[in-house]
């Protein structure tokens, strides 16, 4: 309910601002909605959204699985941590733009280059979060598993993974928001479709209604995925915890 009120407030503010500013710079909500409907009717909206979503999913899965594995290794193994740490610091501080441009220069304007560039941008935050999670693992529980001779994989699944789950959820949460942002830049710079590409075109034509139509649809999709997938996963991983009052 509160969410709806806050959303209605936003729309009202936008409407009033559009009335004052007017013109092509800030179109009214209805003008944007009309563009959205037209793009949806032609199928273009879904095509571009689909392309962007596919890139997000691929890059996200790639970065999360690789990042979690590396983070776990660095958290468990001192040598791996020492070897990996400088690279981690470098990647963490490297601007997304540099990675994307270099990927396109070295691998061409290809799908693989775009996805790799997005994944590389997300990778270090997943590594850092999972490394922290691994360092925070309870060694007393590890010892329990060793003493009771619980097989390695079973212990990993039932003793280690549940302890890492909140960290994985946190990495997924922050990682997804990072990927949402970077994917558009990668598309703007070197892909022939996707929301980022459309925003680039709209920018060149100074077509604000179109720009807003794509951006807002994209934001809506992000919101839906966050509330229907990420938040329930987070809640599931922590359901055994006593609830805060």
């Amino acid at each position: 309910m509160l969410r709806l009120v806050s959303f209605a407030l936003f729309l009202a503010t936008w409407w009033i601002a559009a009335l004052f500013v007017g013109g092509p710079k800030l179109p009214s909500p209805t003008a944007v909605l009309n563009v959205m409907l037209a793009e949806a009717a032609s199928g273009a909206l879904f095509l571009h959204l689909g392309a962007t979503l596919a890139r997000v999913i691929l890059a996200f899965v790639l970065a999360m699985s690789l990042g979690s594995a590396i983070g776990y290794l660095m958290g468990r193994n001192r040598l791996a941590d020492k070897l990996g740490d400088p690279w981690l610091i470098l990647l963490l501080n490297l601007p997304a733009l540099v990675v994307i441009v270099l990927a396109y220069i070295w691998a061409g304007l290809t799908e693989a280059a775009a996805i790799a560039a997005i994944a590389i941008n997300k990778l270090p935050t997943a590594v850092v979060t999972l490394r922290e999670g691994t360092r925070a693992l309870d060694s007393a529980l590890d010892e329990m598993a060793t003493v009771f001779a619980i097989p390695r994989w079973r212990a990993f699944r039932h003793v280690v993974l549940p302890q890492l789950a909140p960290y994985i959820a946190a990495a997924a949460r922050s990682g997804l928001s990072l990927v949402w942002k970077i994917v558009l830049v990668a598309e703007l710079l070197g892909r022939p479709n996707g929301v980022g590409f459309e925003i680039g075109v709209a920018f060149q034509l100074f077509d604000t209604p179109r720009l807003l139509a794509y951006s807002l649809t994209f934001a809506a999709v992000v919101l839906v995925i966050e509330t229907t997938l990420v938040q329930p996963f987070e809640a599931r991983t922590t359901r055994w915890r006593p609830r805060a009052a």
Partner: protein
């Protein structure tokens, strides 16, 4: 089944880089069905010794001999339950092959039937210790290790849990190593008591108790304790 402990030395390096001996030479062995009790003051090195015996700390001089296939059941001082698994799931993780009948029997002895589906966060320390006991017995251990299983419980609760441990040991005799600082627990549960010195720990006295556990009433316990006191006074003088 036989457990042979022959620790020659164990040392730690402190913050200043100096080597500190935690354990002096310690040598004893336990047979199948025998309950050995390590009694010593807090901080004397009992936990270090346990970690070595359990194979968690390979960094010592000496040897621990036990059959490699020996199953170990352990009750840690802090129960070490997985907070995201229910009581029953905690037990089944360590003992995946335990039968429903066996589990029901254990839960009955330990009065855990009502708590099967509870999570550890919902349990008191006394209940959590019982779950840890159920887990240790559910694996049908060849070697049972109990590390201060009655510490920080009030007297009444400790007495009840002690009875339950005695019942479990009687129902399935197993080589047991109990670590405690309580003479009372040692005398009520043990077959052989090993008294440890302050750090670096060594065995200062080994006392067998010949009265069967089931026959140890309050009078017998007092007599054994009086005997131990006389012995201690004699050793001092």
């Amino acid at each position: 089944m036989r457990l042979e402990i022959d620790i020659k030395a164990k040392a730690f390096k402190n913050a200043a880089g100096e080597t500190q001996d935690v354990l002096a030479p310690v040598q004893f062995s336990l047979r199948d069905g025998e309950v050995g009790v390590l009694v010593g003051p807090s901080g004397c090195g009992k936990s270090t010794m346990l970690r070595i015996i359990l194979g968690l700390d390979p960094d010592f001089e000496g040897a621990i001999v036990r059959p490699p296939e020996a199953r170990i059941g352990m009750v840690f001082q802090e129960p070490r339950l997985l907070p995201w698994r229910s009581v029953e799931q905690n037990v089944r993780l360590a003992a995946p092959d335990v039968s429903d009948t066996k589990l029901a029997e254990l839960f009955k002895i330990l009065e855990l039937e009502a708590h099967r589906s509870h999570f550890p966060g919902e349990l008191s320390l006394g209940l959590a210790r019982r779950v840890a006991l159920a887990r240790a017995f559910a694996v049908e251990p060849d070697i049972l290790v109990l590390d201060e299983p009655l510490a920080s419980l009030d007297d009444a609760l400790a007495a009840r849990l002690r009875e339950e441990i005695a019942t479990l040991v009687a129902s399935r005799p197993v080589l047991t190593l109990l670590v405690t600082h309580s003479i009372d627990d040692a005398v009520r549960l043990g077959d052989r008591l090993f008294f440890l010195s302050p750090r670096p720990a060594r065995i200062v006295a080994e006392v067998p108790i010949h009265i069967p556990r089931a026959a140890r009433g309050d009078a017998e316990i007092s007599a054994i304790k009086a005997g131990l006191n006389r012995r201690a006074e004699r050793d001092v003088s």
